[in-house]
């Protein structure tokens, strides 16, 4: 074979292989096969590190500039109205499968047991940044409303509309994460009230998972047995668009 023929064959081969990969990605069965790794990872990780704490850093480690990803400023009218009044009338409603559904003002949340932590935020895109978060322990909030025995997931409903379909951001975690010592609903960032780009007035911190799990601009917390009936049914805005529900990797 002439060298040119060989090169052409190689080029053709790689193009065929690549378009083959694209076709596999578009199919329904193949991504489902690939997705089996998620539950393997989730079960294995859970078995390996039940209550382990994410590393905590010092003030000297803070990122000089903390990036803001996704929504930076929700344009939704209800959110804008709350923001204009400094979130004075904002309430976090906590309901669903709980004994005592309730709405909490920021002052009421600040009165509950809290935690401060300087942690590394890892984005699914690949970057990492360190900041100090202070907020109410989610476990303490759950104790206030008393989850019913059949509740399995904590769903976070947010203000920000993400796209033209009108879908608002949402996320969900299970009780293992919800009751973890470092899982907080943060109202302070680097010693000041949570700025808008980072999710004012309240955002979730789940320190052992990627950034997209940590819903910003919270408006409601709902305890459910299953999240199949919510939006795309996969437990989160990005999960509905193909990202893993278990984002510890």
């Amino acid at each position: 074979m002439k060298r040119r023929t060989v090169m052409r064959l190689l080029g053709l081969g790689s193009l065929t292989a690549l378009s083959g990969c694209d076709r596999l990605s578009q199919a329904t069965w193949f991504p489902r096969v690939l997705g089996t790794a998620e539950s393997v990872n989730r079960h294995l990780h859970r078995a390996l590190g039940r209550d382990a704490l994410a590393k905590e850093f010092t003030e000297a480690d803070l990122s000089p500039m903390f990036p803001s990803n996704g929504t930076r400023r929700p344009m939704d009218a209800d959110y804008q109205a709350h923001a204009a009044r400094g979130f004075a009338a904002w309430r976090l409603s906590v309901g669903g499968l709980v004994e005592r559904p309730r709405a909490f003002s920021l002052a009421e949340l600040r009165a509950l047991p809290s935690r401060t932590q300087i942690t590394r935020h890892d984005c699914v895109e690949g970057w990492s940044a360190i900041a100090k978060w202070h907020g109410v322990r989610l476990a303490a909030l759950l104790d206030e409303v008393r989850p019913l025995p059949q509740a399995r997931f904590v769903v976070f409903h947010c203000f920000d509309t993400m796209d033209a379909s009108g879908a608002r951001y949402y996320e969900s975690i299970d009780f293992e994460d919800a009751r973890h010592a470092q899982t907080i609903l943060a109202y302070d960032w680097n010693d000041r009230p949570l700025p808008m780009p980072y999710g004012a007035p309240l955002r979730l911190r789940v320190e052992r998972q990627l950034g997209y799990k940590m819903a910003k601009y919270l408006r409601a917390v709902e305890l459910v047995e299953s999240f199949e009936h919510i939006d795309g049914g996969r437990g989160g805005y990005w999960e509905d668009r193909g990202y893993e529900w278990y984002a510890g990797i």
């Binding site: 790689s14 193009l15 292989a17 690549l18 378009s19 990969c21 694209d22 990605s25 991504p31 096969v33 690939l34 997705g35 089996t36 790794a37 998620e38 393997v40 990872n41 990780h45 390996l48 590190g49 382990a52 704490l53 994410a54 590393k55 850093f57 480690d61 990122s63 000089p64 500039m65 590394r120 890892d122 984005c123 699914v124 895109e125 690949g126 970057w127 990492s128 940044a129 360190i130 320190e207 052992r208 998972q209 990627l210 990005w238 668009r241 193909g242 990202y243 893993e244 510890g248 990797i249």
Partner: protein
Amino acid sequence: MEDQRPPTSPIRVYRHTLPIRATHWLNVLILLAMLGSGLQIFNAHPALYWGERSDPQQAWLAMRAVPIATGEVRGITRLFGRDFDTTGVLALSGQTPRGFPAWTTIPSERWLAMGRRWHLFFAWLFVLNGLAYVSYGLATRHVQRHLWLRGEEARQLPSTVTRHLSLHALRSDADAGYNPLQKISYLLVLFVFAPLMVLSGLAMSPWLDAAFPALVTLFDGRQSARSIHFIVAFGLVAFTLVHVFMVILVGPLRELRAMITGWYRPRGTGS
């Protein structure tokens, strides 16, 4: 390389057993999937750093699309503080800002979620296939007999290096078995590169970092782990290119046939 005939009367020798051949070709597929999906993931944030944080000014490698005076947009790759115009290949290709071009990534379009699916699935295959190869290789003493460097080989290394600049020596030695340089590179890939790939990959998992803090300490930070993951990946690419180049130099048909059927026909016996 289970040479069943003495080298003096070779017609053909059974060189690669089935498990070796199977894990080899599986690994080819797995590495291609890992590289393509890995570049897809890299493209979601085409910059690399040292330490725990990704402070934008501190990137040792960064790919950006930059508008220039004429209104045109160029792809600029910054490496250790120096800017290179890499339009068409890195930083900007197909008129869109993207780290690596579409023909290198899986999927070819920008699709991080799907890239992650490929990567995190094939990562398991990489580990399982690698473990299968190494445990088979150790159990059958394939690794000890054919890959492990003998004492005199280590001592004669400098002369071996100069000797293997000659194509003739390369070809005649290919009949005898792996030469010392080959052994070193295989051992390096097996016992340094592959474990580094896996460990630096695991160190990027926030959950595993919490469960095994030593993982991230080992690399001195998550962003360092990401850099090392990238560098070693290109180490593997370099190894593969040299490996394929050597096969082409020494005798592509002879070598390919041996890795497919297991049977190797030494030189001078016809092909």
